[in-house]
Assembly symmetry: C2
Homo-oligomer: 205 residues x 2
């Protein structure tokens, strides 16, 4: 465990740059040399720290990707306020971040899933695991909402979760094209519309 500071620093630098390039160009379309050139490091340094390109990527998933998804999509909805508001704000923030990326390459997680699906079972296991955690978090948020009386108790929590995940994954793909801001706005409006249909009607009294 007592990994030296220098070791950690170099490994982290490699992973950060690696994720950046994998996100930009895709895993198969980014060579180890590309990453090394960016960092002015040599082959020897890379294979001293990592067993292979795949091992490198798996470590990136565990060290960086998981954290990113956690901080942007998991933790924000684990609060105890009004569930649907939490989700709205979470999506709003995540999409706003994407809008402000001058160069947006879509949703990290779904990009990698598309790239590795059917081609690398090992990596897919890790990516699906993250998806599963996201799904579980959403399901329990919905159920909390039902319990708290904010969400209609007849709604299918799993269904809502799948629908939310789908729409988020899709809008991130659509936003890479022109006018991400307009699309984000339209998306959020419709999301609110959908939410109105599953929340408890505040009967006028």
């Amino acid at each position: 465990m007592e990994k030296s500071l220098k070791r950690m620093t170099t490994m982290n630098r490699m992973q950060v740059t690696g994720l950046e390039l994998f996100y930009k160009n895709g895993y198969y379309n980014t060579s180890v040399d590309d990453i090394l050139k960016e960092l002015s490091l040599s082959k020897g340094a890379f294979y001293y720290h990592f067993d292979s390109k795949e091992d490198f990527f798996v470590q990136i998933i565990q060290n960086l990707l998981v954290r990113k998804i956690y901080s942007s999509l998991i933790e924000p909805i684990e609060g105890h306020e009004h569930t649907l508001d939490l989700i709205i704000n979470c999506f709003e923030d995540a999409l706003e971040t994407a809008v402000h990326n001058e160069m947006d390459y879509g949703f990290l997680l779904s990009n990698f899933i598309n790239e590795f699906n059917g081609r690398n079972e090992e990596v897919m296991k890790h990516l699906n695991e993250i998806l599963r955690i996201w799904e579980v978090t959403l399901v329990s948020a919905i159920q909390r909402g039902k319990f708290n009386g904010h969400i209609d108790r007849h709604v299918d929590a799993e269904g809502v979760a799948v629908y939310l995940m789908s729409s988020y994954i899709g809008i991130r793909t659509l936003m890479v094209e022109n006018t991400p801001s307009a699309r984000k706005y339209r998306f959020m409006s419709q999301l609110r519309q959908y939410f109105k249909s599953i929340e408890v009607k505040q009967s006028s009294f």
Copy 2:
């Protein structure tokens, strides 16, 4: 125009196999040799018919991809019946097809968009063009629904279109994992729920 039958046959065979492999493995992860091996053809044959791998792919888009999207997602909603039913049936059929693919690699169009985004402007132009046509078709379907009195006249047609596209793209990505059938079912239920919120309330009378 009078392209010989033999020429057309060979080119078509190459394109069909090419699309198959590009879909399975991705464009950058499929070599020209891979395609040629599958067909027992030689380099000479390939470069006799196509200028480059990119030219080959653009022709695949125009000849095969466009038609696929048209027949599965465009034409089915151009009818004149109840708009939302058309869309429901269209999505239902498209997703059911995906479920029955023993090996599903996601939504062709969005996979390629993810792969080429920021890496090949030329190819992206063609892919975005298809997206645009899909969007326009959905928008006019919604507007037709408003005009016919099936859809609430206050709804934002563009917004609904973006939301529908997003959710479809996303569910196709989610369905590549386990239990595509269950996810499809949940998705369709929520889609109906959403549609209830934008259709004209049939006031009980």
